[in-house]
Amino acid sequence: MFDKALKQVLFGLLFMMAITLAYGTFYDRGFAPSLAGVVGLGDDGHHGKHEEHHHD
């Protein structure tokens, strides 16, 4: 039973990653940022904005 449950958890993880990636690709910021987000490397859309920020 443990092996079966473990297989289902891996399947569930891959399935959820796939549908979240599909959602991000079509309804959010596109494929590459969504892929980074799904694997935990997302940058919240702040990439490159720090350079543009000017201090008074």
Binding site: D3, Q8, L14, M17, I19, P33, A36, V38
Partner: protein
Amino acid sequence: MTRRRIPSTFDLLLLWHGLFAGAYTVAYLTAEGAPALHEFSGYVALGLLALRFMVARLAGQRAPWALPVPRAAMWKNFAHQLLTGRLGALLGRTPFAPLSGLLILGVMLLVSLSGLAADWWKWEDLHEGMAEGSLLLVLIHIAIVSFAPLLRRLTARRDDDARLAPVALMASGSERHGRSPASQA
């Protein structure tokens, strides 16, 4: 021609478990850097939880969709076995497994609802704190449910080694005398 087996209610519960674990993991991974994906996976997790509680309500006391409440008899039996020195009880299904499952269901419901509150009313600190705490509970659950199968596997391997030791000894002895065990047979 191969006939496809209709999935049992237990198979469906395992599928639900897998999907929920996946939704939780993706929600955890996307929490810091991908808010839209975090909300998406969070809503999927909330939907799966709603489905779980609805089916549990319909199922009543019927396994396997009933809520995993460890019964008093299960605790009594487990304690009796341990107190009488039968440590083999640890290799079976202990009452800690359903208890951790029940706790996880409750905590995940609170985490998901606090996520909903964070989405609607910006109560983010509460959600973040609860989500971090829930990870600890998930790790404890994994440790509890994997303890018995891993222990069983280790003891089975030790038994196999013990059973095969005389054969291995015989084989090494034969090699020393320049004969193969096959030729002796």
